[in-house]
């Protein structure tokens, strides 16, 4: 009995793609890349070769049916890929099947032997391991005999297999959800089908990639968002591929405020995500500022992404609370990144933030505010962004502090919270409390995973030294719902309540 071996995968080197495909493309097979115009087919086909050269030293053949090699060289230059350099090094070779002849006539039966011979020649010439063909639609226009072309494609796919190369073929689709390809090529080279989409959603475009099938091989199901950025090309944003295996640490770090540390039973966990929610002006930016500047360990570095205020405003605010951001940046302990949320899409934003985190290697990351990014993408994009960012930060064992602005001044929750609250380890609420005709501020720790915490709603004030957390609000109910009502103290006596510090561990009682 012969033993059949499982289908091997060839790592593509495309960021995130090898995770969702559980190892890459099926080796020595042809995979169909189907997509509408502008869905990124050509980029992905070219990137398959580019990463082969850059990461694995595997030469490739690019067969172009539509654009001339010169056009492709030029287009890929916008991603900073120097195709002509690779050509000079015999790592990349073009087979030019673009329509250059004008006076073509069909007069009898034909096949694509000449084409196949050219591809085989090119593969041999550079000892190619990868072949990309872009895009099949053009050949159907040129040779008006679909049956012959389909049969020939099947023959080409099997010839490629015999050459031992792994190939991708791109094909057009007419609609995002419908027939796989315009010319039904999937019926012929359909063992492996990947679909690229560029779907308009709430007036924004969202790129996704889906592995429709890998015959006989495992892959993740569903659509994965991706973005295209210079130098890197296509970058996938894996969601389910991110394993939930973050180590949980028992190490605590200071929140930047001693009293808040006490409320959190000794500070935040080092690899936790904390969400600070509050209306505008309740002190979220102050909390962020203290988190990035106060009680910072000698080895710690803080990274602050600010999407609501300018650098000048932030630095001025900080100095108003007695914190010198400029000095900290000069010492390399802090990096402040200020940008308008609208500058880029969420997908690209995520990749950029990850890159900055990778380069700066912070121990703390603050985002002020996360809700400012809400309006940039669709709900789905935003949710994916939050999931991906939080899991990345936790994975790096970084403490993350995100702020979320609630739409109403009194109480209320925001969309951000709906998406992020289950992903965060701790939630801190900042609320306005109207009492005796004046606005006061309250803070409470709503949740803290894996730890005891103070359950009281405490009053706090803000002055030149920063935030001062004081005593719990007594005889007020309904603060969180935004309708504080003062009641007679006697009505509030809980039956077993004797010590107001009962919830705090003994050594931290206030």
């Amino acid at each position: 009995m012969s033993t059949l071996s499982a289908i091997k995968k060839l790592p593509t080197g495309i960021a995130g793609f090898d995770q969702i495909t559980a190892g890459g493309l099926p080796e020595q097979r042809t995979t169909l890349l189907a997509g509408t115009a502008g869905s990124g087919k050509t980029v992905m086909a070219a990137q398959f070769l580019a990463e082969g050269i850059r990461q694995f030293g595997e030469p490739g053949v690019f067969v172009t049916f539509e654009e001339t090699p010169q056009d492709i060289r030029q287009n890929l230059l916008s991603l900073n890929w120097q195709v002509n350099t690779w050509e000079a090094q015999n790592q990349w070779v073009f087979v030019d099947a673009s329509p250059t002849h004008n006076g073509e006539v069909i007069a009898g039966a034909y096949d694509l032997d000449a084409f196949l011979a050219r591809v085989a020649h090119a593969v041999q010439k550079v000892q190619a391991r990868r072949v990309a063909m872009d895009s099949l639609g053009a050949i159907f226009v040129r040779l008006p005999d679909p049956l012959t072309i389909r049969t020939e494609l099947l023959r080409i796919a099997s010839a490629l297999k015999q050459m031992g190369v792994t190939a991708v073929m791109t094909a057009e689709r007419d609609e995002e959800y419908g027939h796989i390809t315009r010319h039904r090529v999937e019926e012929f080279v359909a063992d492996n089908v990947i679909i690229l989409r560029n779907v308009p959603e709430e007036e924004k475009r969202r790129r996704t990639i889906e592995i429709l099938k890998f015959r006989g091989a495992f892959h993740q199901k569903g659509e994965y968002p991706f973005t295209i950025i210079p130098n890197q090309g296509i970058v996938l944003i894996p969601l389910s591929a991110i394993e939930l295996k973050q180590r949980s640490s028992n190490k605590r770090i200071s929140s930047g405020n001693m009293m808040l540390d006490a409320m959190c039973d000794g500070g935040f966990f080092r690899d936790s995500i904390i969400l600070v929610s509050g209306a505008t002006g309740t002190g979220k930016t102050l909390m962020v500022t203290e988190f990035t500047a106060r009680n910072i360990g000698a080895e710690e570095r803080c990274l602050l992404f600010a999407f609501e205020e300018s650098r000048e405003q932030l630095f001025r605010n900080a100095s108003g609370w007695g914190i010198d951001f400029e000095q900290m940046e000069a010492e390399g302990k802090l990096k402040v990144v200020c940008e308008y949320p609208e500058v880029t899409s969420l997908e690209t934003r995520l990749i950029e933030m990850k890159t900055i985190i990778q380069e700066f290697k912070p121990t703390r990351v603050a985002v002020d505010s996360l809700s400012a990014l809400e309006r940039v993408g669709t709900m789905r994009s935003f949710r994916e962004f939050v999931i991906s960012l939080t899991s990345y930060i936790k994975h790096q064992e970084i403490t993350g502090l995100f702020t979320s602005t609630t739409p109403s001044l009194m109480g209320g929750t925001s969309v951000t919270e709906a998406h992020i609250s289950t992903l965060t380890d701790s939630i801190i609420l900042l609320r306005y409390v109207e009492m005796h005709g004046e606005m006061r501020r309250g803070i409470t720790v709503l949740k803290m995973r894996g730890s005891q915490h103070d359950k009281e709603i405490r009053e706090f004030t803000i002055d030149q030294q920063g935030m001062h957390i004081g005593n719990p609000f007594r005889n007020v109910v309904g603060i969180l719902s935004g309708q504080p009502i003062q009641v007679d103290p006697h009505e509030l006596e809980p039956p077993t309540h004797i010590n107001k510090n009962a919830n705090l561990p003994r050594h931290q009682q206030l």
């Binding site: 087979v95 030019d96 099947a97 250059t100 002849h101 006076g103 073509e104 006539v105 069909i106 007069a107 009898g108 039966a109 034909y110 096949d111 694509l112 032997d113 000449a114 084409f115 011979a117 050219r118 085989a120 020649h121 090119a122 050949i139 040129r142 040779l143």
Partner: protein
């Protein structure tokens, strides 16, 4: 008298290739006598030549001269189409 220059790209000895050679020779004898030059290129032996000439399908007949250059794809069994592409008059057997 104009002189015809042909290049015929074929793939080994496939039926299409053999038919194309025979059909072309027949047409030339009938219409051009000896006033033509024909080079037969086997793409399996010389893929580089097929690459340079950007030949996709086989057989492909290229009429390089007289201008305009024409590419005729197929085994040349559709005589009327071949003659039209070559700029030669189509004559029925009875006229001959």
């Amino acid at each position: 008298m104009s002189s015809y220059v042909f290049k015929l790209y074929i793939a080994g000895t496939t039926p299409n290739s053999q038919a194309a050679v025979a059909n072309l020779q027949h047409i030339c004898q009938e219409h051009l006598g000896t006033a033509y030059e024909l080079t037969i290129i086997d793409v399996l032996q010389h893929p580089q030549l097929a690459e340079e000439a950007k030949i996709l399908a086989t057989p492909t007949l290229v009429k390089e001269s007289p201008v305009p250059i024409r590419w005729i794809i197929g085994d040349l069994s559709e005589k009327r189409a071949v003659l039209a592409a070559l700029g030669l008059p189509f004559r029925t057997t009875s006229e001959k």
